[in-house]
């Protein structure tokens, strides 16, 4: 029944034109940027965020939209979004840049206003016609009644023609592919009610259903608006987050260009901390790169001239010049995303409860109306009367409550989860989430921050102080972690001279005349240990500092909570067995597998599916995307790679996983409410249909029944909030 909001069958396809438009628009030149700020929730937040941004030189103005949790910033041309996100994180708000062109945001705003406009017109017309109808119900007759009917018609017909368009369009689309969705009986009901009322008015009849046609339109439009509104909030963020890999690259001369302008054979420069924009071969420079997002490995890999790098990998220590072998849609990253899109189409065949209900409901009602017409015509030979009975039946059974049953609930549920930082991207995600019985986690970047943490404490020995001093000189993640641990332990760094960083190897310096090094085992002269470690070489002696990956905030609560809900939990990772086993033990996950390639992860999900499980996959990397697409329902953190986010049904904003059990619980309750609402709607029909069949239905009865059932269904949905 939500066909009107499905522009395309595959979410990944939706993101493609967006990314192209973005790349083509050379984002940022317009001097307008949109940042997602999921944590903002109050008046103080608005002020803090806006002031922090306006204090950044080059920012002209900033305006926070609290409903959508995003802030739009007018800037001088060429201002870097990093400055803005850094300014926000300095005041305690995690922020992410959304698409630079504002293309999709203005589009969704426009749609939203469009719906609200139709809703306003329908509401206005409904109230006015209802007032006129009260006169008719209370006994106006003859010329007066006819006049009231004509005035009602003059208001109702244009209003219906304008307001009910979304239903007509969706119904027409559905009929053209020979399917029945909920909009077909809705449209038929509205059109027949209007036409029959017009004919009755012209023939000086007693009963006109203009008010019914309008209230039908109004209530259903309200459901549709709610539906669209929540989806806009979720989609604008989730879809636009795919623009996170800001599609810009630097040429060796320092010129910043859009990735879409790059061709194979050209050179690009990738600075430490930057992400590879293209596939290529290193021509100059040595560094370590983090492949975690692509493979799930936590250990950085060393690369030197001649080594291949792939788009999406992060350069850690030294500047690189890379010769492009593939750019844009030819990169390994994008080819993989294409595979994922194919895996996805299978899942998009999931039929929502509403569609299943529509499939039973629509033919049933139409057959009922037709047989009522045939029976009454056979009995009375009165064409006008029989048609009136049939139309009254269609109006009475018209699925006001059914049309509100699902959107009212999913709005309440999505809103509840949105406030906890979970964006529901797919309209059927909640239903699928409610059916889940097994949760599969990825490790690196999902259960963990993908950020190392020193194992054990620093004792404060002379060696530790040297190591701390060396670590402070580098931006390598292990060095940063070591420096942080040293600061936390309150150590004073040793005095060093002649400190220099050797890209791809480590940091070296002179300490009291002797050479000291901190870095890779082979460079320092130490024996490599298992797991992630950095090595200190001092006066011929070496020492290893070991690191573990820090679990993401709320990971433990998430696992405990999910188990408490009766779900099985599994851990599948591409990382080495020692690291995976350690993490599984730490979080209490009994079953785990390591060293998995992306296809093997997907195969495991498929095996679970065949065994009868409904799998929830939580993952963030490119190595997870196929598995994410294969699973019954999937969740990605906002920090995930764009391909993963696009595939996932739900995106978790903010760093924490603690709301996962809440999401499952809410989904289950939402499904229960939806079924209750259907039961209420069915009960109402069982009572109302005999009246209509017996020819006892009146416009007053229809108005009462329609309003009361709609309100009851909405109130039931509100219990979720």
């Amino acid at each position: 029944m939500t066909a009107a909001q499905h522009p395309s069958a595959c979410p990944a396809c939706d993101a493609v034109p967006l990314a192209e438009a973005l790349a083509g628009g050379k984002g940022g030149e317009e001097g307008r940027m949109v940042l997602s700020v999921p944590a903002a929730h109050c008046a103080v937040c608005i002020n803090t965020v806006e002031h922090a941004l306006e204090a950044v030189p080059g920012v002209r103005s900033a305006r926070m939209n609290l409903t959508l949790k995003r802030v739009s910033v007018e800037t001088d041309p060429g201002l870097s979004p990093d400055l803005l996100t850094r300014a926000l994180s300095a005041v305690g708000y995690e922020a992410q840049e959304l698409d630079g062109t504002m293309l999709s945001t203005t589009e969704t705003d426009r749609q939203s206003r469009d719906f609200l406009m139709r809703l306003g017109v329908a509401g206005f017309a409904m109230m006015n016609v209802m007032i006129l109808s009260v006169a008719v119900w209370s006994g106006a007759s003859d010329v007066t009644r006819d006049m009231f009917h004509w005035v009602s018609g003059a208001i109702a017909l244009p209003a219906v023609a304008f307001s009910a368009q979304p239903f007509f369009i969706s119904a027409w689309r559905s009929l053209r592919v020979r399917r029945l969705n909920m909009d077909v009986p809705i449209s038929l009901g509205i059109i027949l009610a209007s036409l029959m009322s017009l004919v009755e008015t012209a023939l000086h009849g007693q009963e006109a259903y203009f008010d019914a046609a309008l209230s039908l339109t109004f209530f259903l439009l309200a459901g549709r608006y709610l539906d669209q509104r929540t989806r806009v909030a979720a989609r604008s963020a989730a879809e636009a987050l795919s623009a996170l890999e800001v599609p810009r690259a630097q040429r060796p001369g320092g010129e910043i260009v859009a990735v879409s302008d790059l061709k194979a054979g050209e050179l690009v420069r990738v600075l430490p901390g930057g992400r590879m924009p293209v596939d290529g071969v290193v021509r100059d420079g040595e560094t370590e790169i983090d492949r975690g997002l692509l493979t799930g490995e936590t250990l950085p890999v060393r690369v030197a001239p001649g080594d291949a790098v792939s788009a999406g990998e992060v350069n850690l220590t030294g500047p690189l010049t890379v010769e492009i072998t593939a750019a844009g849609r030819d990169t390994r990253l994008h080819r993989m995303a294409d595979l994922v899109a194919m895996a996805e189409t299978a899942r998009n065949r999931y039929t929502s409860i509403a569609d299943r209900a529509a499939r039973i409901y629509a033919p049933l009602v139409h057959v009922l109306a037709l047989s009522a017409f045939v029976a009454w015509f056979a009995a009375t030979h009165d064409l006008r009367f029989s048609v009136n009975i049939a139309v009254a039946l269609l109006i009475i059974t018209c699925p006001c409550a059914l049309g509100l049953a699902v959107p009212a609930v999913s709005t309440a549920a999505s809103g509840r989860l949105f406030r906890r930082g979970l964006l529901i991207k797919s309209p059927t995600a909640l239903e699928r989430l409610a059916e889940v019985d097994l949760v599969v986690f990825d490790k690196t970047g999902t259960l963990t921050e993908g950020r190392p943490e020193l194992a054990g404490d620093l004792a404060g020995s002379a060696e530790d102080r040297v190591a701390l001093a060396l670590a402070q000189a580098s931006m390598h993640p292990l060095a940063v972690a070591l420096a942080a641990a040293g600061q936390a332990a309150g150590l004073t760094p040793a005095t060093l001279e002649d400190v220099r960083e050797v890209p791809g190897h480590g940091v070296e310096a002179l300490h009291g005349g002797a050479r000291v090094r901190l870095g890779r085992a082979d460079w320092v002269g130490a024996l490599p240990e298992a797991g992630t470690a950095t090595y200190l070489g001092i006066g011929g002696a070496t020492r290893a500092y070991r690191f573990t990956d820090h679990p993401r905030a709320g990971a433990e609560q998430a696992v405990v909570g999910l188990k408490a809900l009766g779900l099985e939990v599994e851990l599948l990772s591409g990382d080495v067995p020692s690291a995976v086993g350690e993490m599984a033990a730490r979080l209490g996950i009994p079953s785990w597998a390591a060293d998995l390639r992306p296809e093997e992860k997907a195969a495991r999900i498929e095996a679970l599916r065949v065994a009868g499980h409904r799998v929830l996959m939580v993952g963030d990397g490119l190595n997870d995307t196929i598995a994410l697409a294969q699973a019954h329902v999937s969740i990605s953190p906002a920090s995930a790679l764009d391909a993963a986010r696009v595939v996932a049904d739900i995106v978790a904003l903010g760093g924490s996983l603690e709301h996962l059990p809440e999401a499952v619980r809410t989904a289950r309750r939402a499904k229960a409410r939806i079924l209750e609402n259907f039961a209420l709607a069915a009960a109402y029909n069982i009572v109302a249909v005999p009246f209509a069949l017996a020819g006892l239905a009146s416009p007053l009865l229809a108005a009462l029944a329609m309003s009361s059932s709609s309100i009851i269904v909405s109130l039931n949905a509100l219990r979720l909030r």
Partner: protein
Amino acid sequence: MNVLAYLIPISLLLGGLGLAAFFWALRRGQYDDPEGDSQRFLSDEFDDRPKG
């Protein structure tokens, strides 16, 4: 019943005014951020004039 000849047009006119006001508010973006607007008035910063 002649009073209806005045009352109906008047009621329609008033309703139409309301509808026009709604259109105006909608086009001015006053429904774009209901949540934010409900919070903004708590801050004394926007007392003199709303933020553009």
